[in-house]
């Protein structure tokens, strides 16, 4: 895979308010760095993430989308991440089926105490996206003009 040194990926991270967003805060206060390509959007719960949002991000030019929520069993709303888990599993499987690179989407469970994990997860995800390069299969060409 050719790695374009000019390539600056756009990565959208949906983080649930109660665990993962706080995990990202902890990563920040612990000064655990991860690439600036990652931009976080706060949602109340991973179950708030509509597959439409994921596709929308790709449409508008994102190169990777990652969704972070509380660990299964620890959801602030008790069951939200269980639904998110099924939805995203099926969505990712469908994207794979359509021939979209699997590595562009990911779900990770990060608790409020896991600053280190948050940073590791983001570092790994970003390096994966660098490997995959620009998202050409799922974007709207008009946004790339």
């Amino acid at each position: 895979m050719q790695v374009n040194s000019e390539f600056k990926p756009k990565i959208v991270a949906f983080c649930c308010n109660w665990c993962s967003y706080a995990g990202a805060d902890l990563a920040g206060s612990s000064r655990l760095s991860y690439p600036a390509d990652v931009k976080i959007i706060k949602v109340p719960c991973s179950c708030r993430v509509n597959p439409l949002f994921v596709l929308r991000a790709f449409e508008k030019g994102a190169d990777g989308v990652i969704i972070c929520g509380c660990h299964p069993g620890d959801c602030h709303y008790s069951t939200g991440n269980y639904y998110a888990r099924r939805r995203m599993t099926l969505l990712f499987s469908m994207l794979d089926y359509l021939g979209i690179e699997k590595g562009r989407t990911r779900v990770e469970w990060v608790s409020a105490a896991e600053g280190v994990k948050f940073s590791t997860v983001m570092n790994n995800f970003v390096s994966k996206i660098y490997q995959l390069g620009e998202n050409v299969k799922l974007g709207d060409l008009r946004c790339r003009k």
Partner: protein, 325 residues
Amino acid sequence: MQEVIKKRVKELFDNNTIVRAIGWENGEFFYDHTPAVFDSAADMDVFVYDNFCASNLSKYLINHCAPEGKTLVLLKPCDTYSFNQLLTEHRINKDNIYIIGIGCDGMVDIDKIRALGIKGITKITQNGDELVIDTMYGEKKCKKADVLLEKCLSCKGKKHMIYDELISENEDEMPQDASKRFDLVNELENMTSEERFAFWQNELSKCIRCNACRNICPACSCRKCVFDNSASGVASKANADSFEEKMFHIIRAFHVAGRCTDCGECTRVCPQGIPLHLLNRKFIKDINTLYGEYQAGETADQRGPLTDYTQQDVEPTFISDKEVK
């Protein structure tokens, strides 16, 4: 069969059990039957039931189950799944509906007969498992099994899931080999990611966004589709870029995931011959393997797999980290 049904429906009109009936009526040719609403026993004269009644009538009931008198509907076995799913979702009211479950031994695809090189067809009669085809150029024959509609190739069996009465001769016939149902999905899954992308790009780029797949689909019963709703922020009317048809078809498949009964109407009506059912069937296959066998519409009031969960469900990383082909 047609005459038995006609007689029975007329009886039900005559004894005031029903005030209207939904069935099929004769078209211009022998194969272009139109779904029709009959308002009286006399209307039923043009009723038809043969190898070309593929339309799934269950969705019409959304607009025809108002309380002023019962509506009769003729449902083939596969249509009853859609009916149950609509019941589950409170889109229809069984109290105002009278179902005659009618037998079916598969519906015929006129295009497949034409593809055999048979032209100028004027009439088709069935003789056992053989079709006798009268054409402008003499009589031709073919096996019915060779010219069935795509949706009939993975028949769920001849048993009706719900009915008030049955007019059927093959109710006990078992479904065909269910393992074949996912053959095409498997085939796609076994391709490389690039091949799959090329396949779908090629198919979906034909899409003209006529919305026939959506509007015929009994699961797509939204009063207003998000793609038609300018306030939703995702409305779109045409494929102005290769992305848009993907967005539309992925989201449509996702919205019906766990609700799609695999009735195959989407593929049947697509004017561009896009195998849309392969999207729905992929979700069905994944649901079956990941969350346990589930058939939408088998009974009413089932809890769909996407409104359910177990604590031990597989993680999405199961997909993301699967070996890349």
